[in-house]
Symmetry: C2
Subunit: 214 residues, 2 copies
DNA sequence: GGATATACGCTACGAGGCGTAGCGAAAGCT
DNA sequence: AGCTTTCGCTACGCCTCGTAGCGTATATCC
């Protein structure tokens, strides 16, 4: 639960007045509500500072720009995702797909996510920040799901290298498809779609195994 | 090939001096090179006007804002995609995946695509513009690929409703996965990945059929 | 306690983008 | 011709960005 919050170096030296943790929390909260009210493009640093009851300079002491601030503000939302054991791999996948879709329905998430990814195409530092605080942390869902499925005998056990590549593939397919469905196609991720998608994914996984055996 | 280019109404009444087609082309071209040089966030209307050798006011007579201009400038890139007949469904899918990945490697495409999608989450007009000029036009690839595969006997023929839903699903999975792989995970869409992904997808499609029969 | 070091709130500022208004000139159409 | 619309140009008000400078507050170290 220790959110790393790797903002502008808070000076590892420990002398002087420490940064206010309340200010941190207020700023991130204000950023989220500003995202809801205004969206990414109309969100301004001055507005966030005003909402947080903090001076604008305080924001710039912690975050270099809007993108980095928003990544930190939104990252915590993704920690709510979890893959609960529903008895079968299909049910587990379907559950996490629905959860992810609900997350993307929240205005602060949908407006921020694509925007920071777009920004990251020209900002390597931002890209690694996104990976560390959002993307990589969600791979746990894939790993856990696979682990459970293997324990149930639904999926074969693979060597480490293959397992890693397969997990990456699954992650891109699941996250990509859900994001594309809800943000680009702008169609609902309802029960029907989730079920069809899960069927497609699991069938595909069996195909991968079959290919490996053959 | 008639690019609809539905910008600010060019006055369907036909009297008066017509808009310069050269200006149109110069502006869109300038927008693409500006995207390469500066990226989405640092691209300015003034800069595009300068590059195009056109007054800034001319831009605003045609496009309401940066997002709409960029959508039109980038849309033409997607028309280059084609699904050539490579003899098998697997080869066809793999080919279009690689093509799409190459497109997303171009700096003007990668920086623009996510940005306008992000913007569209708060701008319904922009969203429909994106759908019409980019997304929907690419579904032809899915439809054509399926058609060929059915002719080869690789895929069963379905009724119209099922076919439409399946096509949408495939589209979201393919486009979503490739975008996520290259822009979010920032990993290369190389031969290995394309092959694994195709295997997963085709295996999944067989699974969908099996489920429908059972 | 005092010295030091940092964070904070505040004000002010220059730089630069946005989008519009108003002008005279150009280029079509009837 | 006369009408209509576009074009290039200049100028403008509004807003945001990100920084500098100041006095004050709050920590740690001696």
């Amino acid at each position: 639960m220790v959110s790393r919050m790797c903002r502008t170096t808070p000076r590892s030296g420990r002398t002087g007045r420490p940064r206010s943790a309340e200010a941190d929390a207020a700023i991130l909260e204000a950023t989220r509500t500003a995202l809801v009210d205004l969206g990414w493009s109309k969100l301004t640093m001055s507005d966030v500072a005003l909402r947080a009851g903090v001076a604008k300079t305080t924001l710039y002491r912690r975050w270099a720009n809007k993108s980095e601030l928003v990544v930190d503000a939104v990252a915590v939302l993704f920690d709510e995702l979890e893959i609960s054991d529903r008895g079968s791999l299909a049910a587990d996948v379907e559950g996490v797909v629905r959860q992810f879709a609900e997350l993307l329905d929240r205005p602060e998430a949908r407006t921020a996510l694509m925007a920071v990814v777009a920004e990251s195409t020209r900002d390597p530092a931002l890209r690694t920040r996104i990976r560390r605080s959002i993307v990589d942390r969600q791979k746990r869902l894939v790993l856990l799901g696979r682990q459970r499925a293997q324990a149930r005998g639904e999926l074969p056990v693979e060597d480490a290298a293959t397992a890693s590549r397969t997990a990456d593939l699954i992650f891109d397919v699941v996250a990509g498809a859900v994001v594309h469905r809800s943000l680009v196609s702008a169609e609902p991720v309802d029960t029907d779609w989730s079920r069809s998608f899960t069927l497609l994914l699991l069938g595909g996984l069996r195909g991968l195994d079959a290919d490996r055996i053959a």
